[in-house]
Point group: C2
DNA sequence: GGGGGTTTGTTGTCCGGCCAAGTAAAACAC
DNA sequence: GTGTTTTACTTGGCCGGACAACAAACCCCC
């Protein structure tokens, strides 16, 4: 027993008390926990497809919107250009994506999904549906809307203070 | 302009449309985005203290609950024993934590905060308060409670399907 | 048209995180 | 008491992610 990787401290071994996971920033902690579990589940489900978490987001973006500049991919997915560079390298190396220099702009490299990757699209979308179902399956419409609204406000607030902190620190 | 790393796609370059961030699993996407911003802000704030994201959670746990077994730390923070091993190694190497083999059980290593690290405790807690304020500052009590409840349900649901998937795949 | 600044991408480095494999110690079984 | 299983930790490998430093291409402006 007591084998769940993200152990809740219920009648299970030492765990001296609710501890850190309850006290200082409840919302922050909750988000961290949910996000980690979410990513872990994504990793498990994506295993069948041969993708790693976050790679599926790149592929979905490519499938939906077609060839794109690497920097746009990075920006849309909220990550770094450096990270995106290496992720695309791995996707290319795995046969999922293709890169080509832009003919009009010598700096940009365009990224697109390979035709071979189209075979995975349906299953990846199924995985993503399973994820969504697991995370929000037992929420009624009002709750879902409420959570989405609140999460959006959180996102904006975080973005704002992040920008504030960045400029303040330079 | 348009320099925010997590760019929203508003009048700013190509960005062909709301794209992936809007369509398939709205709640999942929202959580991923918020969690990433949250971690990014944590990283910025923790920079002053000389810690990296997640290290502060270990330290707070050590400060609150005293010396603990490494495996308990991992379980309480919802992470891996392998990850915790290396994180503690780095904390030790930075002078924040100390390790000692348990006298009663030759397998376990006890981890505790160094006295020197106590000086950082106040500031780390301040950082965490700032995080919480940024993520949940403009929520009234009812909203906060609602979000916490929903996030808790999400956590349980994710944990459950994660366990289901794990056993199913072996 | 040439020079300074900007955008775009790449690489190095470090970190958390996960899996898998391996070691050592304890607990259990017989 | 020996053999087997279970537990606790460690290490190697790989991945996403962030920062910093860099090179190349572009842009603008004089």
């Amino acid at each position: 027993m007591c084998s769940t990787p993200a152990g809740r401290s219920d009648e299970c071994g030492p765990s001296p008390r609710p501890s850190v996971t309850e006290r200082p920033g409840p919302v922050s902690h909750a988000i961290v926990r949910v996000a980690r579990l979410h990513r872990m589940l994504a990793g498990q489900l994506l295993r069948r497809v041969g993708l790693h978490p976050s790679q599926e987001l790149v592929m979905m973006q490519l499938w939906e919107a077609g060839p794109q500049r690497l920097s746009d991919l990075a920006r849309l997915l909220g990550t770094d250009a450096a990270t995106m560079t290496r992720t695309v390298q791995r996707l290319e190396q795995g046969g999922f994506a293709k890169r080509a220099p832009s003919p009009t702009d010598g700096r940009v490299t365009m990224v697109e999904a390979t035709t071979a990757s189209q075979g995975l699209r349906a299953e990846v979308e199924r995985v993503w549906e399973e994820l969504e179902h697991s995370v929000a399956g037992d929420l009624d419409g009002a709750e879902r809307d409420g959570v989405l609204t609140v999460l959006d406000r959180m996102e904006q607030s975080l973005e704002q203070t992040l920008g504030r902190v960045r400029t303040q620190q330079e």
